[in-house]
Amino acid sequence: MKKTLFDKIWEQHVVEERQDGSSLIYIDRHLVHEVTSPQAFEGLRISNRVLRRPDLTLAVADHNVPTENRINGIKDNIARIQVETLEKNVKEFKVPYIPLMDSRQGIVHVIGPEQGFTLPGCTMVCGDSHTSTHGAFGALAFGIGTSEVEHVFATQTLIQKKPKTMLINVSGSLSIGVTAKDIALAIIKNLGTSGGTGYVLEYSGDAISDLTIEGRMTLCNMSIEAGARAGLIAPDAKTYEYIKNKPMSPKGEAYDKALEAWKLLPSDEGAVFDKVINIEASLLEPHLTWGTSPEDVLSINDVVPNPKDIDKENLRNAMQDSLDYMGLKPGQALTDIKIDKVFIGSCTNSRIEDLREAAAVAKGRKVADGVHAMVVPGSGLIKIQAEKEGVADILIEAGFDWREPGCSMCLGMNPDQLKPQERCASTSNRNFRGRQGRDGRTHLVSPGMAAAAAISGHFVDVRKFN
């Protein structure tokens, strides 16, 4: 029978099929961070259980960490205790850990691939919904809750129902100024935030093959915003090249053997998916969100929608609520929306390519008066590379605030937050109410669009800058 990429990975990882139709699945890689792990470690201790495979586990603190003056430690007591608890736990259970002051520290979904921990064909989990990011390498990667984190600690397996598969075929090629982020937003607009529930997405087509590995990570990252726990892209020459010579990736004979196995992974010609969606890349424009759900997506040259055009009462009211929260008027041009803050960062868009994209727009220009624009690289290594390449200098000269790596204002657990009613052009992945700070207003965009908004003081079509 013809098999999809997903089918192949799934089959290779079934430890046992259970009577009720679910399966016990082996987990090859487990990423751990400070926020969703303390209760799981505690659970092991209470039940006197061992952590089965610390060697398949990798931990880092990212959600809670300060992005400036890190040398002075974490000021917030509770946050500090959480990071210290992680440090204590990784020591006790012998889990490999990247310390806060290490140059390799960064957002868990950035450092996994960067360290070569993420591999094609593997199953990968983390107590974080954006684990879908790693699907860019052809890994079946998905987020889990803390009880499941504990389950993986104790058993290196998970009980899972086999999900359905959806093929998202993106044909043609993107026009200049349109990026992987715009593909992601277009897909979420198309599917809605629950359209992918119960599915694993596979992205394919020319536009996907053309994406860099960074772009593929951006796209897979946001699969969860369409409700899908995982998004996959078949590995190819770019993938293998990226993985080669990373610290934790296979070397020598192991790499050659791995490569042979990885080449068998892509979906067979004619394999059947439960659902297929087609998108034409050349029709896409730079996108941004206007509301408080990631499906509230428009093209930059559109206007704010009008609740009057919505038939269903509860949806009409929901739209009006969103507009009130966002401080927007129906019919207003998106390019007239002024911003206060810019956030370039998060596991969606904080990699070197994203920073280059922002720098290309910012070069020789200045951040508009009254706008605070911050750039938070995804990892220490990306920060160093951007500094070496001159990307950091361009951004700093343009007036961007250049920070230490971490999740930062993507969720504002640390002091990087929006104030009430502040409006932000953000390269992150969620525009939920209060996500970036109580009563803060988030618009999701690509790094280029964020930089263009920083320079202009309002949203603007990034293509005008090229």
Binding site: G116, A261, M413
Partner: protein, 202 residues
């Protein structure tokens, strides 16, 4: 895990779609290293104003719904992050059942790990229950029989048999999986042929 069998209580209606986990329990409360104590922060931004005063209009701040044990809400409840703090906060507040037309995957799973019962019903029934909820009535849920009764009306619901079994008996997945330790051991033995399987050291 606490078992779930029968539950009778007040039901609070929050008739919104896409209620996300950031709304259920905002990030500032995720710094805890405990599972308990989150109930007072449940729906924090809906329940408290910026000066931390109770917002009187919000359903869970009004009698009798401040005693609610069940929530009825719109589509795609629990979307967003994987934080298990969401069911912990619900449970700590006293809510152990959510009724909706649909749930986000990770939240749905997390409920079962914590003795919270998520019930999926069709839109018409959810609307009916929502309307009754506004009158402050009680609802009785019987998991064994897979039914709920409100104002002499009986509704049936579907649930996965294994999940039902675990909830009814308060069974912990980990214990069940570890009974199969041998199967995991033999799977791992076969992995030795994948010589690239183990990561190199950091």
């Amino acid at each position: 895990m606490k078992s779930f069998n029968k539950l009778t209580g007040i039901i609070a209606s929050i008739p919104q779609v896409n209620i996300d986990t950031d709304a259920i329990i905002p990030k500032q409360f995720l710094k805890t290293i405990e599972r308990t104590g989150l109930g007072k922060h449940l729906f924090h931004e809906k329940r408290y104003d910026q000066n931390n005063n109770l917002i009187k209009d919000f359903i869970l701040n009004k009698q009798p719904w401040s005693q609610a044990k069940i929530i009825v809400a719109g589509d795609n409840f629990g979307c967003g992050s994987s934080r298990e703090h969401a069911p912990w906060a619900l449970l700590d507040f006293g809510i152990s059942c959510i009724i909706s037309t649909s749930f986000a995957d990770i939240f749905y799973n997390n409920c079962f790990k914590n003795g919270v019962l998520p019930i999926i019903l069709n839109e018409k029934i959810v609307d009916e229950i929502s309307m009754l909820a506004e009158q402050g009535v009680e609802i009785s849920i019987d998991l064994e029989e897979q039914q709920l009764i409100v104002q002499n009306k009986l509704y049936k619901f579907e649930i996965d048999p294994y999940r039902k079994h675990c909830l009814l008996n308060g069974l912990d997945d980990i214990g069940i999986t570890l009974e199969n330790k041998k199967t995991i051991d033999s799977y791992e033995e076969k992995l030795s042929s994948k010589i690239w399987h183990k990561p190199e050291s950091l």
